[in-house]
Amino acid sequence: MRWQAYHTPATIDEALALLSRYGGAAQLVAGGTDLILDVQQGNHATPQALIDVTTIRGLDAICEQDGWVVIGAATTHAAIEASPLIRRYGTALAESCSVVGGPQVRNVATIGGNVAHALPAADGTIGLLALNAEVQVCTWNGSAVECTWQPLLSIFAGPGKNRLAINQMIGAFRFPMRTERTGSAFDRIMRPQGVALPILGVAAQVTLDENGERATAVTIALGPAGPIPFRATESEAILLAAPRLDEEAIEAAIVAAQRQAELRTSKHRASKEYRHEMVAVLLRRVLPKAIERAQSRSTFG
């Protein structure tokens, strides 16, 4: 059996009013490349109705606003990959979105869907997390929609579970438009057999001081390393405290990330030992690249 109704609302109000009216029997859908497969393959109960958010006006916009880059929840991976704004200010996100599936999938799969699916290794999510992104949660209070910005990590409840209620949806994401001395990068390791999910994905963003030596801000996201997307905060702290971002500092950050991350063996995908190694390999690739990009965008005294 498939869904019995397919709604194409034009506004967030309309979408959330519908969603509330169905009282849990409807499901929001964007590109559908995750949700529809889950329904087809019996991993998700068939909803009575689908509410397509991609028809909401403006929900696929990428724009600059008060020092933030704002990305509508229904923006496709392809649009993110191609956006000069995101390539410049959120390189890690552009890189992470460019490796999801093939072009046919990226043309429809959205960043909002990627985050809402709440997988701890979702590429787009890891990219956003490294950019210190915030999520805009829109809530229908019975007569109107209220939107609030909150930290991205706050909406994850567990693997495949988000904290959005049946009167809520994601409106947009935003990350600070750091103009100078900031760079980010993403990379991942795939397994050629079995599962299509990455063995490990890592994204990092670094902001350098005016001398281009010390970090003034560092974010490192990696997954899967626990039930929800993971920030390697201990590694971040080590890099912030380091007198210079050299090999020694990076190696210390790697040890901290390996210690903090909850790596495990997942069947036909990766062993815990292998993931442990990959944390190091990916950080050794991603951190120097982020630092290099930060340096190339610097205006040092």
């Binding site: 059996m1 498939r2 869904w3 019995q4 109704a5 397919y6 194409t8 859908v29 559908g32 490349t33 529809i36 497969l37 087809q40 393959q41 109705a49 689908l50 397509d52 991609t54 392809a78 599936g101 093939g102 072009p103 046919q104 999938v105 043309n107 429809v108 390791i189 397994r191 050629p192 057999q193 079995g194 599962v195 299509a196 063995i199 069947k267 036909h268 990766a270 062993s271 030992e273 292998y274 190694e277 990959m278 390999v281 050794r284």
Partner: protein, 1020 residues
């Protein structure tokens, strides 16, 4: 229902569609745009790619209502859309049935290039590829290989190996830039005849690039019903009861069929009838996937929904899920009616005295290897349509007998099995082949044919049974997983003195072709080498896993991995170069195989070794020149490399590169004493055309092109005047199974000899007209004429007439007599006027072979190949990539070098999959691999640079010297890759597929051998 308005290929449609309908369904089933293919239904394969407002989407999971108000473009609309963009567009029109060249010019350059470059084989993936590639060329007029690979990353092809696709996309781009399409480049091959040896595009290529080709699911009949199959949840369970009342009560459900509805034999099977049409009664379900019931309903969706309402009461039985345990005396027995417990067959090769052989050896190497269960993953899932006798359809006409439309590798075996299970005489059933989206051995056994025929018989309506990808994965026979222990002994000078091997093959729940496959694994377990002695034992075992049967390579893929790995280990122990060691022992004319066959001709192995060795040497030379030029320092190892060691590692950054080599051979034809024949029928027409007919299967390999070339060559007809009809048990005589790389040889010969016999018949009537001896009548490009040179020769010599008639094909510039010539059409009219039949059949019998153990010729021909792979191993991640492949194949004769190259490239990439990516994972009899997304076949990013040599060491009996190529191309590549990995990083992979996780950890721990994959138990 909601209304959907969209513009498709320039035409606006407004349709009433259910809310849950997908775009692919609307396009295929509602608008009948069947060029939109569904390969997986999970956005994995890309066959369903269409453009929505200019952007490509996987239409199989794209809700149709998302296309509200959109412009949709499918393959059917591509050429017209292209022409309207062209300034001269108004002058170009599609000429259906017209000249191929004219028609090609009217297509989109991508379509044209896919035809000219052989980038379409089975063609099922082609529309998706072309539509996806269009998005690239729209944005990028001159894409690089890397950009093409990025664009086509998630669009899968199982036939071509992607090389021709990449070349076609570049050629199309060039045409779009310059107006000129470059010619494809081909390996050197012997001088072609008029048609034989010419790289002609496939006869069906234009149909495939335009979406016109009709595969089974593209047929629909008035009043058609749909069947869905309920399959066992358990690997081994008795069916105690089936309650289908709730399903039958659903409005729109016609019936639920089970074992009690089968009127004839309850079991089928190609070799042994041990596979129940439905499990039940005396026949428990023996694997997860065994059919239990069939629902027949008004719609496909309803039939599948009704399955959930059937209640089955099982008695779960203990299951045995590995072949070693299956041989234990206390193992649960699958088939109590068989004499030897779970033993399907113990296969033995005995040759000389192995004890003495090992005693004489200076080096003995013994290892145990594992190969995985793998899946054909043909892009087109199985589909059968049963049409009852007496059914009249407005499009497909009257059916005088029960007819099954299906894409099958063995139409006559389907007919016989359907008839037997329905309790009908064979003549009461007709199998009518459709265009087939790949087979590779996976469409030899019965799939839905019997069920569809039975359902049509019971309901009196046409019934279509289309398997979902999940069902296809779960149900059809796979490649045998094997455990192979092999011990090789050699003298210091490199002479192999003894081979001892023990093979366990997991044949799964039913016989299928398991015995034959494992026999081939066993008889090829010495490799293409002369060995002093051999003792090989193979145990083909029944287990509660999916049945295992035919899959490209037919067992030899598995044993070659073990043999060629051991060859490298022995060579290293002897301190010999791996190519030198192989050359020392290589089969050559006069050699005797371990089964006692004397090789009398057509053994091109040494030439293959030489070609590959030279190419690797050349690579090193270029590399050295390059690093000399750039002063590059990557090669501490490079400069220190002894010039003779072609297999030395080369480190660049984190990656280590090395070559690895392997050789292989594969029989052409059934062999082993099985009578092997193919029959072809030829008919010539007064309009100057000819048709050649045989039931042999066209599954993408371009058999039809081979048959057309042989026929045109013999009749001296323009090839466009030859049509080919295959796969119809009423209209085409039996060509035998399309298996064992046999059809070019068998059906090629049948077509060639049928055409030759017809030529002789025509020579007779034309000779009478001109009052000359028949042997001086020649045929060329649609003319029959007196060959004056021949005539002079005949008149000049008293008994020298054979000269001309024996080599009619050699005369490249025929001496056509203007006064004494008539058209082929007139010659046919003369024939008919004389009351002689314009139709004849030729039954070609291949040379007789001997059963294993009898000595003598077990096979009538072998093809040989040598593959070398340059791999890179990332020492930080364990990731392995095949960067380059050099191959040489001795195929006897290249009948169509373009198609031949396609077989080689496709086989090699499939072999890369076997080594690196493919593993159909089953846990305790339950498949873990349930979706295509969990079965990684090689994508375009796995395609290496290739350099392929064709070696033509002809076999006397083969058509123009040809032997098979279908399988050999995928055999040596896997061990070439693992040998290269060893040469690169010193870790020997004894189990396939190579696991990067385990490889990295082995490198870290300093382990030299990897004998297991994920989750494998230790070997005994």
């Amino acid at each position: 229902m909601p209304m959907l308005t969209m513009t498709v290929n320039g035409v606006q449609h407004t349709l009433d569609v259910p809310a849950g309908r997908f775009l692919a369904e609307v396009l295929r089933y509602d608008l009948k745009l069947t060029g939109v293919k569904i390969g997986c239904n999970e956005a994995e394969c890309g066959a369903c790619t269409v453009l929505v407002n200019g952007r490509s989407v996987d239409s199989c999971i794209f809700p149709a209502l998302k296309a509200q108000g959109a412009e949709v473009l499918t393959i059917e609309g591509l050429a017209a859309a292209w022409r309207t963009q062209q300034p001269s567009g108004a002058n170009l029109h599609l000429h259906e049935n017209g000249d191929q060249e004219t028609e090609l010019e009217a297509l989109h350059p991508l379509q044209e290039a896919f035809v000219r470059y052989g980038a379409t084989q089975c063609g099922f993936c082609t529309p998706g590829f072309i539509m996806q590639a269009k998005t690239l060329l729209d944005a990028n007029p001159n894409p690089s290989d890397a950009e093409i690979k990025h664009c086509l990353k998630d669009t899968y092809c199982r036939c071509t190996g992607y090389v021709s696709i990449i070349n076609a996309v570049k050629a199309a781009a060039e045409k779009m830039r310059t107006g000129q399409m470059p010619e494809p480049s081909l390996p050197e091959h012997v001088e072609p005849l008029h048609y034989v040896g010419q790289p002609l595009p496939r006869p069906d290529a234009i149909d495939k690039v335009t979406g016109r080709a009709l595969y089974a699911d593209d047929y629909w009949f008035e009043g058609m019903l749909y069947g869905a199959t309920l399959r066992s949840e358990h690997p081994h369970a008795r069916i105690l009861s089936i309650d289908a009342s709730a399903a039958e009560a659903l409005p729109g459900v016609w019936c639920v069929l089970t074992q009690k509805d089968v009127p004839g034999a309850l079991r089928h099977g190609l070799v042994e009838a041990d596979w129940p049409v439905f499990a039940g009664g005396d026949y428990p379900a023996r694997y997860v996937g065994d059919p239990i019931a069939l629902v027949v309903a008004e719609t496909d969706e309803l039939a599948h929904d009704a399955l959930k309402r059937i209640r089955v009461e099982y008695e779960v039985l203990p299951a045995v899920t590995d072949p070693v345990t299956a041989r234990r005396p206390d193992a649960p027995v699958l088939h109590p009616d068989r004499p030897d417990g779970n033993l399907l067959k113990h296969i033995k090769v005995r040759h000389g005295d192995v004890e003495a052989g090992f005693a004489a050896a200076d080096v003995i190497v013994e290892r145990t290897y594992r190969t995985p269960m793998t899946e054909h993953a043909f892009l087109e899932p199985e589909c059968s349509i049963g049409v009852p006798a007496g059914w009249s359809d407005p499009r497909f006409g009257y059916h005088d007998k029960l007819t099954v439309y299906v894409g099958s590798q063995i139409p006559y075996a389907d007919r016989d099995q359907v008839a037997r299970c329905l309790g009908l005489p064979k003549e009461a059933v007709r199998i009518k082949g459709t265009v087939m989206g790949g087979g590779f051995g996976g469409k030899e056994d019965i799939a839905g044919q019997i069920h569809a025929a039975l359902a049509a018989q019971v309901t009196g309506r046409p019934v279509k049974i289309l398997y979902t990808r999940e069902e296809s994965l779960r149900f059809h026979p796979k490649r045998h997983p094997t455990i192979i222990r092999i011990k090789t002994g050699a003298k210091r000078d490199g002479t192999i003195t003894a081979v001892e091997a023990e093979l366990y093959g997991d044949s799964g729940a039913y016989a299928s072709l398991g015995e034959k496959v494992m026999t081939r694994a066993t008889t090829h377990a010495t490799g293409p080498y002369v060995v002093g002695s051999a003792k090989i034992d193979c145990y083909a075992m029944y287990t509660n896993n999916a049945p295992c049967g035919a899959f490209r390579g037919f067992g030899v893929t598995q044993s070659a991995f073990a043999v060629e790995s051991n060859m490298d280990i022995v060579a290293e122990a002897l301190g010999m170069d791996p190519i030198e060691f192989r050359r020392k022992n290589a089969m050559r004319v006069g050699a005797v195989t371990a089964t006692g066959q004397v090789l009398r001709e057509s053994v091109g192995l040494l030439t293959c070794l030489e070609k590959v060795e030279t190419a690797i040497r050349e690579w090193w030379r270029e590399r050295e020149q390059e690093s000399g030029r750039t002063g590059e320092q990557d090669g501490a190892s490079l400069s220190g490399r002894p010039s003779s060691n072609l297999f030395a590692p080369l480190r660049i950054g984190d990656k280590v590169y090395a070559w690895g080599v392997a050789a292989g051979y594969k029989n052409t034809g059934l062999g082993g004493g099985a009578p092997d024949k193919s029959e072809a029928e030829i008919e010539v027409f007064p309009n100057g055309r000819a048709e050649i007919r045989t039931s042999s299967a066209e599954m993408g390999q371009n058999l039809i092109g081979v048959l057309a070339a042989c026929t045109a060559e013999e009749l001296g007809l323009p090839i466009r005047n030859v049509s080919v009809l295959v796969m119809d048990t009423d209209l085409t005589p039996d060509g035998g199974p399309t298996t064992a790389s046999r059809q070019t040889y068998l059906s090629g010969n049948a077509a060639r000899l049928a055409a030759r016999a017809m030529r002789e018949r025509l020579q007779g009537v034309v000779a009478e007209k001109f009052d000359v001896p028949p042997e001086v009548i020649a045929f060329h490009e649609g003319l029959a004429y007196v060959d004056e040179a021949r005539l002079a020769a005949v008149r000049g010599e008293t008994q020298g007439a054979q000269n001309g008639s024996q080599h009619p094909l050699r005369s490249r510039t025929p001496a056509i007599s203007r006064s004494r010539s008539i058209s082929f059409a007139e010659a046919v009219k003369l024939l008919i006027e004389e009351g002689r039949s314009p139709k004849l059949r030729y039954e070609y019998w291949a040379p007789k072979t001997q059963p294993l153990g009898a000595g003598g010729d077990m096979h009538f021909a072998f093809s040989y190949a040598v593959h070398a792979a340059l791999v890179s191993v990332d020492t930080t991640t364990g990731e392995v990539a095949v960067e380059r492949v050099v191959s040489a194949h001795d195929v006897g004769r290249a009948i169509n070098p373009l198609s031949l190259l396609g077989q080689i490239e496709g086989g090699i990439v499939m072999g890369i999959g076997n080594a690196l990516t493919e593993h159909y994972i089953v846990e305790n009899g339950v498949p873990w691999t349930q979706h295509l997304g969990q079965y990684k076949m090689p994508g375009i990013k796995h395609t290496p640079q290739m350099c392929n040599f064709i070696v033509e060491d002809p076999t006397a009996e083969g058509p123009y010297g040809a032997k098979g190529v279908g399988e050999i191309s995928s055999i040596p590549i896997s061990p070439a890759i693992t040998n290269a990995i060893y040469n690169a990083v010193g870790v020997r992979c004894l189990a396939l597929p190579v696991d990067q996780d385990a490889l990295l950890l082995a490198m870290k721990r300093g382990e030299r051998e990897l004998d297991r994959r994920w989750g494998d138990p230790p070997i005994r």
